[in-house]
């Protein structure tokens, strides 16, 4: 079985570091990025099954990442996390077919459950 690939984008380095540790433990292939621009550059090179992105970032923000990913790789699932939940942004993200929306602090278990649902797994390994 091929490993599912997950891209994590957050300007907080710890988010990527911790998510990678936890997700790799669960058998995912994880790449982390600190800004939207370099993440999009990477997406030019290869697709990912799941993109978990922070909403508020300098330069290319989470919504731009969402739109670009959906345009380029419609099958890729995008999950958004944000430090400051804002209903307007959430609605906008939903319109752009975001899979899930998590406010910080993120519960890793919930995030993983969401990823699993997105990938069609029934939970548990």
């Amino acid at each position: 079985m091929t490993k599912h690939s997950i891209m994590i984008i957050d300007d907080e380095k710890i988010v990527g570091d911790m998510a990678r540790l936890s997700l790799e433990q669960d058998g995912y292939e994880v790449e982390t990025f600190l800004d939207g621009r370099s993440a999009l550059d990477r997406l030019e090179v290869r697709p990912f099954d799941v993109v978990v992105t922070d909403l508020k970032m300098k330069g290319v923000d989470g919504l731009q990442v969402l739109r670009t990913v959906k345009k380029r790789h419609p099958k890729t699932v995008v999950i958004m996390i944000t430090a400051f939940a804002n209903l307007d942004v959430a609605i906008e993200a939903l319109r752009d077919d975001v899979h899930d929306f998590f406010p910080k602090p993120v519960k890793l278990k919930e995030l993983k459950a969401s990823i699993e649902r997105a990938l069609g797994k029934d939970g548990g390994h």
């Binding site: 710890i14 911790m18 998510a19 936890s22 430090a83 910080k104 602090p105 890793l108």
Partner: protein, 482 residues
């Protein structure tokens, strides 16, 4: 007294003076008219007396009694005219002179009557009678003529007097009008100047009032109204400030939520991951996890400290201080940053600065904040200008910190003093300028910014002089005493 009443009063006085002058002139004109009527009558009488004297001479020469009858007729006519114009004549020359004239005429008539009686019996008038007749005629004519010339002289005198009265009165009225107008205008001008000064100071945001007791006139009412307006404006400004404060609390809360959430999320994720992967971690990795938690709590601590700095300012230790000294101390602190970034420092410090009354530590914090921003905005090279100057208009001291950095986009300029607002790529706390603004405002000063994209940014910090603050606090003490 109200200006309205002053103007009424002055006009009333002027009208009174003009009426008085007019009545004097009217009185003089009436007198002249009376005298003129008299001289007309007197001229007729004089002509008639002259005719009588001529007839009298003819009688003495030709002894014709018919001449005497003619004279009697003329005397009767003159007497009738005199009776007719008795009032006019008495008004002009007085009853005494009129009676004398009448007496002389009666006397003359008596003489003529006597001569006629003598002549009617055919006897010649004696030398004595002739003499008396001539004498009575002469006296009548001379008296009448002297009256006439006397009245003519009087008319001349009245006209001369009228002329000088008119002349002086007109000058008097003009002078009074000028003096009174000057007094009223000077009064209004003085009050208006105060109003102008006050409105100028209000437009600069100083809501002081004209403290002296307002006068009871219209200007007093204007000044009272402006005083009321000033306090009303001040009250409303307070309200606006309050609502701005509430709005900035809203921004603050949003910012706090976001800023606190990131490190909180980090700690949470570290903890969750730590629990998940605990069994696979070596001792060093476990310690590294805990260090990371420690870093995030430190980050939280800094945010909270900055928040507290602004929301609950530390007890200020304000002392009389020299602006340039604080600038030099700041330069010492940022010199290393300047050297590392290869940034030239240019100091342009004025030597005529007023002493200021500041908490040195806090003001230095502001200067360091702004200088650090400037250095970061310039990157690897540039020039940092720190200038101080005396603002003659307000008597304040001003510090300018100008960089040659990338500048701030106009759309951001309105927000740079908002809490948690930052344009820094690496994400500053967004609290530096916000805290700086609070510190300078707490010092009664002002912090403003000018920026143009590509050219750089300049911050201007104004601090009120020590003297000004002392005066204000003295005033306050006095008001409290009152």
């Amino acid at each position: 007294m109200k200006i309205e009443y002053k103007v009424y009063f002055s006009n009333a006085v002027l009208i009174g003076l003009i009426v008085l002058l007019g009545s004097f002139a009217l009185h003089d004109l009436n007198q002249i008219l009376t005298k003129f009527r008299f001289t007309v009558i007197a001229d007729e009488l004089n002509a008639s007396f002259l005719a009588m004297r001529l007839a009298e001479k003819n009688f003495i020469l030709y002894r014709d009694p018919a001449v005497l009858v003619g004279i009697e007729g003329m005397i009767d006519d003159a007497a009738d005219s005199l009776d007719e114009v008795k009032d006019d004549i008495t008004r002009a020359v007085g009853l005494e002179n009129y009676s004398r004239l009448r007496a002389y005429m009666d006397d003359y008539a008596l003489m003529i009557g006597e001569a006629r009686r003598h002549a009617s019996v055919g006897s010649q008038p004696s030398e004595e009678m002739q003499k008396r007749l001539r004498h009575a005629g002469q006296r009548l004519k001379e008296f009448s003529e002297s009256m006439t010339s006397l009245e003519q002289r009087r008319v001349g005198a009245i006209i001369a007097k009228s002329k000088s009265v008119l002349l002086y009165s007109v000058w008097g009225i003009v002078l009074f009008a000028l003096l009174f107008t000057h007094l009223i205008v000077a009064n209004i001008g003085l009050s208006l100047r105060k109003v102008v000064e006050l409105t100028q100071s209000i437009s600069k945001g100083h809501y002081e009032k004209i403290e002296e007791k307002p006068t009871s006139d219209e200007m007093g009412a204007v000044i009272s109204a402006i005083n009321v307006m000033a306090s009303e404006l001040q009250r409303r400004e307070q309200e606006i400030l309050q609502s701005k404060r509430l709005a900035s609390i809203g921004i603050l809360v949003a910012g706090v939520a976001h800023e606190l959430n990131n490190p909180l999320n980090n700690i949470s994720m570290i903890a969750q991951t730590y629990a998940e992967v605990y069994d696979h971690l070596g001792r060093g990795q476990r310690i590294d996890f805990m260090h990371r938690v420690e870093e995030q709590t430190e980050r939280l601590r800094v945010i909270i400290k900055n928040l507290l700095d602004f929301s609950r300012p530390k007890e200020r230790h304000r002392v009389k201080n020299d602006v340039n000294r604080v600038v030099h101390k700041t330069v010492d602190l940022v010199q290393n940053m300047l050297d590392v970034s290869n940034i030239q420092l240019r100091l342009k410090l004025a030597d005529n600065l007023p002493a200021v009354y500041i908490d040195e530590h806090q003001v230095q914090q502001v200067l360091v904040n702004i200088s650090t921003n400037a250095i970061q905005a310039m990157g690897d090279s540039g020039e940092l200008l720190i200038a101080s100057r005396y603002l003659a208009d307000s008597g304040d001291a001003e510090i300018e910190i100008r960089d040659t950095g990338k500048g701030i986009e106009p759309k951001f300029l309105d927000h740079i003093f908002d809490p948690f607002f930052t344009t820094k790529e690496d994400g500053g706390t967004g609290l530096g300028l916000w805290v700086s603004y609070g510190i300078i405002k707490n010092h009664g000063g002002n912090l403003r910014v000018e920026s143009s994209v590509g050219d750089g940014t300049a911050f201007f910090i104004t601090l009120p002089s020590y003297m000004k603050i002392k005066e204000c606090s003295d005033d306050e003490t006095q008001h409290h005493d009152n």
